[in-house]
Amino acid sequence: MKIAVLGAGAVGRSVAELAGEYGHEVTAVADSRGAVADADGVDVAAAFDRKDEAGSVGDADPDDALAAEYDVLVEATPTTLGDAEPGFGHARAALERDRHVVLANKGPVAERYGDLRALERDSAGDVLFEATVGGAIPVLSTIADFGPSKVTAARGVLNGTANFILSRMAAEGIDYEHVLAEAQDLGVAEADPAFDVDGTDAALKCVILANVLSDGDAEFSLDDAEVDGIRDVPGSALELAAEDGRTVRLIGEASPDGVRVGPRLVPANGTLAVTGTRNIVQLETRHAGRLNVSGRGAGGPETATAVLADVGRLE
């Protein structure tokens, strides 16, 4: 397949760098400032060397990548809320050209799911978005295999930063502010951690799950989610939980009825009490009980594997 990659952050870069190993060819790469396109294949290493030195992968206009020759557009620009632009517009442009779209960007599927599906219906191209939920973990493809109507609910730990902070607080008995500073030093938490610690990121993933599980019967966006973060969970609360064989995790729940994200009490040695940055998703199925899928929920190469698995499904 010929792939155009929009977004040259950790995920976009990893997709471009690993595409060859998966038997695909990168025909365009764009970042916010420039682009490089070549129908015979872009020199990916050279493009990223150029980005490291000069700040952009190429001299061409970023829109040239949208108009380039490709079978699949990989949308890996930063997630935006509300109108989900520019990601949504990129997906629309590709679908209107009857090309496939693979999203790593959560915005279009969390905020404008119905609009995106309508564009997909009018297009010869398909939209897949495994990378938007749980990084490398095959959550959406598992739901697709079971059939959305055969999965009644999903719940889990879907934000590695918040989980790292809560598991460190519990293990070390230190307060949120100290652990956050440590997480920032380690590069686990962003300088502005709000998106992760306020539950927004986990909520977006749960909204996407709810959209997939309701299979067109209802549409959800972030506004429909009940969201609480972890900032005001004191260390003393984690200690009291530990005395009782429990711990606290930021758990997201998604079903066709809605979305809820917040800190919850779980058994300290239970399935949901994953430590560090690990993610886990539990699916409740109609005929096979509970299914647990766990793994790395973030990271460039990790998330790229989900993108490339989607590309493979479109072949």
């Binding site: 609910a153 719940r155 609360a237 939980a241 009782d244 009490l265 058994p267 949901l272």
Partner: protein, 192 residues
Amino acid sequence: MPGDAEAGGDEAGDEVADGSGVRSYTVRLELVDEPGELLRALEPIAESGGNLLSIFHERGNLTPRGHIPVEVDIECPPDRFDDIVAALRDAGVNVIQAGAERYSEEVTVLLAGHIIDTDLSDSLNRIEECSGASVVDLSLSSPEGTDDVSSARIRLAVESGRTDEALSTVRTLADEKDLRVVEPLTNGGETA
């Protein structure tokens, strides 16, 4: 150890017309130590629409009259309970004590925030009054002193089927007093 017995009452878990649902009750009986007496005593319960949860047969203990005490836990709609006790008495079973409601579910929650200086005892009273729950365990931690942020772990014993109601009471109270609640997962999640 109580032996569990399922009597498979048709009404188990059904909501009654007035929406008050099924409750749990403990009935203390005394039986003559003869074969078949226990079975004879249990028949009226199922026949009157009660669901048998457990039987505690205290062999080795004797009542003042030399009979064997048996504690039976049943579930039934509240409006059936008097009928069940009456049916037992009609069948000649000696009912020593009936009607003590048994809490059959437990739920643990964490509260964080200004717990103590927002009147903790008022909070606990309201949880008990509003949701038919009983606070069976309370642990407090105030590392910053009692007029700063504290945490509490509260274990509630809840009447059968009223856990959601109890959690909802805690949530309302916490909103009002600006406290953070950390709830367990109740619908299908692990709660152990």
